[in-house]
């Protein structure tokens, strides 16, 4: 088991390394470069000055050399400055990573709290009115454009009913925990509704598959209570594929968080990446993307480990 964890950690680090190069190359292909931005700020720069600056900052080097320079600086803890925030990149990103984890974590827990009971209830009474309703709701959930849903929530709860703020992290002059939670409600609900439909469908399908197995019939024949059969026989086995899906869904959740954060002005990773890309903040975009990638890869790793805990049939040699 330990060697498996080490092996997966090495694998994850390797993927992250490859991704860092791909992302570096992609950022290099964004319009303009730092010299262009300097020219914008100071139109008096001559072509000679530009060439000299390019040489000074190493922008005339080939891609691999530039990447190597970035990497050697990065392992020494120098990730560069953010142009938009005039701060070291990591000083910008750490608090925002925290904000995203709060948002994603709340949405994840809320999705589970909705999807598990709904999926199980639907699976135990196939073709009933309840099952049809859950199914229809899940279909609607996976088909609704997440940003539109967020806008509708704002129209209803912020503009019309005025129950919750339309965006931001805190109200000016306040900023206590309660105020922050108040601002968290709509983003979490929007992100949850955007993802929960898919999870319900997986829980339902997986539970139905488990309920078809022979050991369920055996358990029932033994005279176990319905509840016991459902929870300790069916659910435990049904959860194994669900965990994989939840892990794969983490990438989608990070994607969804980008939309939610942008619409609600929640200062998280997704909004930061978006602002950085639009604002030509190359250093920030690069590290923001790497953070987002690392976050999803880590979630995948955790899911693989949870696998072993849930399914004793899987051994790791």
């Amino acid at each position: 088991m330990l060697s498996y964890i080490v092996q997966r950690l090495v694998q994850t680090a390797l993927v992250l390394f490859v991704m860092s190069f791909i992302i570096y190359a992609m950022i290099g292909l964004m319009p303009g470069d730092p010299i262009d931005l300097m020219v914008q700020a100071d139109p008096d720069l001559t072509a000679e000055d530009q060439a000299r600056l390019k040489q000074l900052y190493g922008l005339d080097q080939p891609l691999t050399t530039r990447y190597w320079n970035w990497l050697t600086a990065a392992v020494q803890g120098d990730f560069g400055y953010s142009r938009l925030f005039a701060q070291p990149v990591l000083d910008v990103l750490w608090p925002r990573l925290g904000n995203t984890i709060v948002l994603i974590g709340c949405a994840f827990l809320l999705s589970l709290a909705i999807a598990l009971p709904a999926g199980i209830a639907a699976a135990t009474r196939p073709r009933s009115l309840l099952d049809n309703a859950v199914n229809l709701g899940a279909f609607a959930g996976i088909s609704v454009p997440p940003f539109w849903l967020a806008i509708l929530l704002i129209i209803l709860f912020a503009v019309t009913l005025e129950w919750f703020p339309a965006g931001g992290m805190t109200d000016p002059g306040q900023g206590g925990l309660l105020d922050q939670l108040h601002h968290l409600v709509l983003p979490v609900v929007a992100l949850t509704l955007a993802r929960v439909g898919g999870i319900i469908r997986y829980v339902r399908a997986s539970m139905m598959e488990a309920l078809r197995q022979d050991y369920i019939r055996t358990a029932r024949a033994k005279g176990l209570s319905r509840r016991r059969v459902l929870v300790s026989h069916a659910l435990r086995n049904a959860m194994i594929p669900v965990v994989t899906i939840l892990a794969l869904d983490m990438g989608m959740l990070v994607s969804g968080a980008l939309i939610t954060e942008t619409i609600f002005g929640w200062l998280g990773m997704g909004k930061t990446v978006y602002d950085a890309v639009l604002g030509n903040d190359y250093n920030l975009a690069l590290m923001g993307l790497l953070f987002a990638t690392a976050l999803t890869l880590l979630a995948n790793l955790l899911a693989d480990l949870a696998y072993a805990w849930l399914d004793p049939r899987i051994t790791y040699d």
Partner: protein, 323 residues
């Protein structure tokens, strides 16, 4: 790009699938149609999609007939309420909302259909090759596919959407033409959309390639390419059709998100996504501007999902029994 009826593919493939069923097991094509027809939601969705597509692709004709214009700015009639002249009112620049919605549908449906077909082709090639050749080749391709699935796609797509293609040596004329954002969108979405089909096809190929008819074909001297093209591909057609139909909805969602964020289809070309870009600022003055495009995306995507679901039941009767 040629425009075409978006249902042509599905209906054509449905007929082809039915014809195969007829040859293979003497199951009448009617049986397939009857199974599909029994799925009321899917049938209704098909009708909705046909109507929506017909109206969208006829937008220039409707524009000419009614004298409404999708591009004429009328600052005297901004944010007008619905009237006989403007059935759904006008937007913040006084353009007729209904015609703009139809033009937007044309773009969104085109992106969805074309990118779904390209994704399906990439996914099928990757899936059949991985499943058929197996071994290290398979392992490498599937690790790559898993990697793409696990990535946070939207943040990466945002950077890809911002890429300056002239830095890659593409001619400037191509990238600045009016339809450039359309081509770019189709390319981007196809790049990430092929993974589901690849995994499904690989799984099906793995089990099919050990069957007797493949061994028989090989004994008769068929080469690898012929076995994959003639013997394997027709047998994996149903999962491809179903997952392609389902992916159209996802692609339309993805297109709308990127366009909403200002990185997809660029104005003045309308798409359902970019019609919502300004909606957030206008929710106080004209909330209906935010409602209509989103509602159309929602209806279209849910219709494609119901259609895919119905096709799955019709093409694979066993899945129906298990439900």
């Amino acid at each position: 790009m040629t425009e075409r009826d978006p249902t042509a593919d599905t209906a054509g493939e449905l007929r082809a699938g039915a014809a195969r069923a007829l040859e293979a097991s003497a199951t009448p094509a009617r049986l397939l149609w009857r199974r599909f027809r029994g799925h009321h939601l899917a049938l209704g969705s098909l009708i909705v999609l046909v109507v929506l597509a017909a109206l969208s692709f006829a937008a220039p004709v409707i524009e000419a007939w009614t004298g409404l214009s999708a591009t004429r700015v009328d600052l005297m009639a901004r944010n007008a309420a619905p009237t006989l002249a403007h059935p759904l009112g006008t937007d913040e620049l006084g353009r007729d909302l209904l015609i703009r919605l139809l033009y937007g549908g044309r773009v969104s449906l085109t992106v969805g259909l074309v990118a779904a077909v390209i994704s399906a082709i990439i996914g099928t090639v990757v899936g059949i090759a991985a499943g058929y050749y197996g071994g290290r080749f398979d392992a490498a391709l599937m690790r790559f596919t898993d990697g793409v699935i696990a990535l946070p796609l939207l943040p990466l797509l945002i950077v890809l959407a911002a890429i300056d293609f002239t830095k890659l040596g593409l001619p400037e004329g191509l990238m600045t033409s009016e339809s450039a954002s359309l081509y770019r969108m189709i390319l981007l979405v196809s790049l990430v959309g092929w993974t589901t089909v690849a995994r499904l096809v690989r799984g099906a190929t793995l089990s099919l390639k050990t069957r007797e008819f493949v061994t028989a074909a090989r004994a008769l001297g068929a080469g690898n390419a012929r076995i994959m093209w003639v013997h394997l591909l027709p047998n994996v057609a149903s999962p491809i059709i179903v997952s392609t139909t389902l992916s159209i909805g996802n692609i339309i969602l993805l297109e709308s998100v990127l366009s909403f964020l200002g990185l997809g289809i660029q104005p003045p070309m309308a798409s359902w996504g970019n019609m919502l870009t300004n909606a957030q600022e206008l929710i106080y003055s004209n909330p209906m501007l935010a409602v209509w495009p989103g509602l159309l995306i929602f209806v279209t995507v849910i219709a494609f999902n119901f259609l895919g679901d119905g096709l799955q039941d019709a093409l694979d009767p066993r899945s129906g029994l298990q439900r």
